[in-house]
């Protein structure tokens, strides 16, 4: 079974495009950290929720977008700057595939 199941556009908003990226299982903290380390200038924010759940937000450099996900869902959401969305999505998916 593939670790990355699908990705597709789910919303266009002003200067952003929102994509759904479906994985086989939730990304763990160390994978999020590895993703942040592989993307120069990005910042990773971990927001603790109740019952030990964690919300992850990876902010890309130069406000090019964010990738959010959680410890309980295999779905990720990439909100990317519209003008470069296709290229950024390709990079993001490639990095995710290399991590999985």
């Amino acid at each position: 079974m593939k670790a990355l199941i699908e990705y597709r556009q789910i919303q266009i908003c002003a200067w952003r495009v929102k994509y759904l990226i479906r994985l086989e299982k939730p990304l763990e903290t160390r994978a999020w950290q590895a993703l942040a380390d592989s993307w120069p200038g990005s910042t990773l924010q971990l927001i603790p929720l109740y019952e030990g759940r964690v919300l992850y937000t990876l902010g890309l450099a130069e406000r090019k977008g964010t990738l959010t996900g959680s410890s309980v869902s295999p779905d990720l959401y990439a909100v990317l700057v519209r003008a470069e969305a296709a290229q950024l999505l390709r990079e993001l998916v490639a990095k995710l595939e290399s991590l999985l």
């Binding site: 556009q9 789910i10 002003a14 959401y77």
Partner: protein
């Protein structure tokens, strides 16, 4: 004195409200903001809509900052300006620097203002004969300037003289002292508010209060450079709810005065439509987000649970409390609303023209359409114009009416949403 504005918001769980400077603040997205404002603008040939859009914001800005300065004991002009700048960006309105203003007014310019920035990024340029779109900021800042210098409400006039939506590189306003007072009234503040506990229905395991509290703790922080809040795939503001409520009420009244009672269904339908726009973009964005997946989705066993889950979020947006005591079905939902922000604000006015909240009718029927007609509970959808037209314009799937309304003398607000 440096104040972290985000810590100044007071959460009133029993009111479903989030208050700053005596003003309930509500979260909305740029789609809703533009739809409502543009709908009012369309009436500009019938009456001067700027009086409503700018004047209402000025009343609120003045009341809010007078109260906030008093609460915090801020008397120094520089500190007052810093506080206004900080509130402005914390609420997602953009970035302003007030250093160049004095008690006579002055010029203010910014490349980042919510309405202008998001409009310019979304829609074609405005025609030359139309003014810029930053009405709210214009009035809000005029009121803030009055409060900063302890001037009476209505003593500062204002004009927007440049806008991103017209090809200018920045938004620019001019503020000036008037030799007369504008006919403005202090804000209604928390209005005729009411209180209730968020009801936990026995027929679902969706933990209503737990979800509300988790959402309240989520950071809705502005970008440090732009002062704009991006979340859930849209651009959000924490705007004083009285602004939306009062511009809706005042627009409806003006239209009745200018055109006559036959215009009522047209204006009401536009306000219903604003609820659809909000449900589709803001709540649709929320229901397809990592936050939703983490906080709400683990409890969603049946399609109806999506209704309860999104209802639990609304108090955290400051909109009031949605009580669900009877299970909803795909054909019928009958939520009871406590301290619904629109009713609470308008009820504080004497003899309001609106006798219910048309926004609520559109919002709750929009939620039903998204969940049942778009089948959000079993698939991810693309929130685009095609789906919007399918759900709301090519024959509406749901219709909401008020069975009981606080604005019509009822004890509470009860909406009935039915499949058409």
């Amino acid at each position: 004195m440096r104040v972290e504005v985000a810590t100044l918001f007071q959460v009133h769980s029993r009111r479903g409200s989030v208050v700053l400077g005596g003003e309930p603040h509500v979260v909305h997205c740029h789609y809703y903001n533009h739809f409502l404002q543009t709908s009012l603008e369309d009436a500009d040939e019938l009456y001067p809509v700027e009086e409503v859009l700018v004047g209402t914001a000025q009343e609120i800005g003045h009341s809010l900052f007078r109260r906030l300065f008093a609460e915090l004991g801020v008397r120094d002009i520089g500190q007052r300006k810093a506080l206004v700048e900080s509130v402005y960006s914390t609420c997602g309105f953009g970035k302003v620097e007030l250093a160049g203003l004095n008690s006579e007014g002055g010029l203010l310019a910014t490349p980042y203002e919510h309405y202008a920035y998001t409009y310019a990024a979304t829609f074609p340029p405005r025609p030359p004969h139309k003014r810029g779109v930053a009405y709210f900021s214009q009035g809000y800042l005029a009121g803030a300037i009055e409060a900063i210098y302890d001037l009476p409400l209505g003593s500062i006039g204002s004009r927007q003289i440049a806008c991103l939506t017209k090809g200018d590189p920045e938004v620019r306003w001019e503020f000036f002292r008037l030799n007369h007072l504008l006919p403005l009234s202090p804000s209604v503040g928390e209005g005729r508010h009411e209180e209730a506990e968020l009801y936990q229905p026995s027929f679902t395991r969706v933990p209503m209060a737990q979800i509300r509290d988790a959402v309240l703790r989520l950071p809705l922080a502005p970008d440090s450079e732009t002062g704009l809040i991006e979340a859930f795939g849209v651009v959000l503001t924490r705007l004083p709810g009285n602004y939306y409520s009062l511009i809706s009420e005042r627009h409806f009244r003006r239209m009745l005065e200018v055109v006559g009672p036959e215009i009522a269904p047209v204006v009401l339908d536009m306000l219903v439509e604003s609820g659809h726009v909000c449900a589709f973009n803001t709540l649709g964005g929320v229901m397809q987000s990592a936050e939703w997946d983490a906080v709400v989705r683990p409890y969603l066993d049946r399609p109806e649970d999506w209704i309860y889950g999104i209802s639990a979020i609304l108090p955290a947006l400051g909109w009031g409390i949605v009580q669900i005591s009877v299970p909803s079905t795909p054909a019928l939902w009958r939520p009871s609303l406590k301290n619904w922000y629109e009713s609470t604000a308008i009820r504080a006015l004497s003899q309001p023209a609106l006798d219910h909240s048309p926004f609520a009718c559109g919002l709750f029927s929009g939620i039903m359409a998204l969940i049942y007609a778009a089948r959000l509970y079993e698939q991810r959808v693309t929130l685009d114009g095609t789906l919007y037209r399918n759900l709301f314009q090519e024959g509406r799937r749901y219709e909401g009416i008020f069975l009981e309304s606080r604005l019509a003398g009822g004890a509470t607000d009860v909406v009935e949403v039915k499949a058409k």
